[in-house]
Subunit: 308 residues, 2 copies
């Protein structure tokens, strides 16, 4: 059986890490590297994993842009941030062949429709990464904790392509599971993200632990707003998820959210994907989300101030 | 008729400015200056007013602490910020004589009870300043805009002592009015303060204009929360106040709130007096204030971060 061909778009920590796992499993992995192209072309990625130790990942191809890819990918995997200024469909269009499966391992809710509409005939897999993984310098990735990947078809089912991809990740030794309910799982992840990401930024840099230890009730209110929207959208999330999330955050070490890291580095934040989309989904379903909407508005004000 | 004796506690911009007006009107004004004592003792205050030009105000007495005051004041005027770490009753106790009228020209809501309970036999006057006035260096005050002072007894009436004090300010040429409804007016001022003060800080430094131009709906929601609490507390504020406040803020020049100035200077903010008291008044009256409560919680997180 010939090796699977994988094209990863977005060579940040997440893309490089999961790309390296697919390479471990024998796939031919090409990477589109925007900022670190020259460095990665020369030396590949050095990945320092709490789980697998330090290893080098040399992609099968290193590309500057998607247009440079001349092959036909079995899997085109989108690992960029989800930002309004970054057109996901335009990124995918040039490299999605008739036989390609589209995968996105990205944050946010309500980010499926854009791709389903643009590629109605294609299998599209939604991926959720629970991982603590940072790019510390060009080509250098630190995998600090966790790593679980959940994959499922955007049709909210486990497709054969999903199973095959899950198998590849598992072959590499990763914790990867298939879900027949991936859209709901996205909302579950959003419970946590929509609370702690903006609170860490708007407080000017507090850790998750400082936040939960002093403002648990606010966190609960925000999560309840998200849960109400998810339920109104047809994804039944139980109330107990909120208490589980709160208890887990108390138990976690003091953690800097990804949005806070972006904020501190002056990089664009996933405000729209995580908060804006949730607020708009609530509006569409006629659900009031005062806590969530306040955080969203404050993040927009913060972005406005940063742009000045 | 002998000159009125006035003791002003708190020699910030507000205390120095209103003290200077009472001196203009012929009162013997003593000032308690914590930080600028030596400077003010030597050279007095230099006040640069858009209305009266530049003038020097030499207090009748300059004191380091309230304990140093040996006279009997007709009016003891509290002009400090309202902060949890600053005990207003303890500040007043040593200088409130049997015949003294207590006056506080301070921000915040629900800040009367503390004084009424401590001084049940005394006339207490609540003052609200609508003024743009800053201390730019020790002993140097800039009066940039506005200046109106509203005074009224905390019993929500116009007492003779109120009328006399209003007369003194008017004698100095100031715009000063008596109100028989000063507690409600405090809530009216809180509509604006509770929205723009925290939004300017939490956005990291936006002006009132940038805020109202981009997040008018959020401002409306916050003001509505405050209005509901005020009404539940028995102070009937009309909904039209919200639209007037919004329209006025659009018409004002881009303005930095006092809380933002404190934030930028690393000085304590009146989070509790403006937001905390409003939220707690809502809780006591069983009124939900999700927008206000989110801002309050975020300000507490910001203060926590600043304390680290």
């Amino acid at each position: 059986m010939p090796a699977n061909k994988v094209l990863i778009i977005g060579a940040g920590a997440l893309g490089a890490f999961y790309g390296s796992l697919l390479a471990k499993a024998g796939a031919e992995v090409a990477m589109v590297c925007r900022s670190d192209y020259a460095h990665v072309l020369n030396t590949g990625f050095v990945i320092n994993s709490y789980q697998w130790g330090q290893y080098v990942f040399k992609p099968h191809q290193v590309l500057r842009t998607v247009q440079d890819y001349q092959d036909t990918a079995d899997y085109v995997v989108l690992c960029t941030k989800v930002l309004p200024e970054l057109n996901r469909v335009e990124l995918l269009r040039p490299v999605v062949a008739e036989t390609s499966t589209i995968v996105f391992i990205q944050n946010g809710v309500a980010i499926e429709a854009e791709l389903s509409h643009a590629f109605p005939e294609h299998e599209i897999i939604s991926g959720l990464a629970f991982i603590c993984c940072n790019r510390i310098e060009p080509g250098k990735i630190e995998h600090l904790a966790y790593g679980r990947l959940t994959l499922g078809s955007v049709k909210n089912a486990v497709s054969p392509a999903t199973e095959q991809l899950v198998g590849l990740f598992q072959q590499a030794g990763a914790t990867c599971v298939a879900s027949a309910n991936i859209i709901a799982e996205r909302w579950v992840k959003c419970l946590w993200n929509a609370a702690f990401n903006p609170l860490s930024v708007l407080s000017g840099g507090l850790s998750t632990l400082a936040i939960i230890q002093t403002q648990e009730q606010l966190v609960r209110h925000i999560m309840l707003d998200v849960l109400k929207v998810a339920n109104a959208c047809g994804y039944r999330l139980g109330l107990e998820l909120i208490e589980t999330n709160i208890a887990n955050t108390h138990a976690m070490p003091a953690y800097k959210t990804s949005m806070l890291l972006d904020y501190e580095r002056g990089q664009p934040m996933e405000t729209e994907a995580i908060l804006g989309n949730a607020v708009r989904a609530g509006q569409a379903a006629n659900i009031e989300t005062p806590y969530l909407a306040t955080l969203y508005a404050l993040m927009k004000l913060t972005e406005l101030r940063l742009s000045k």
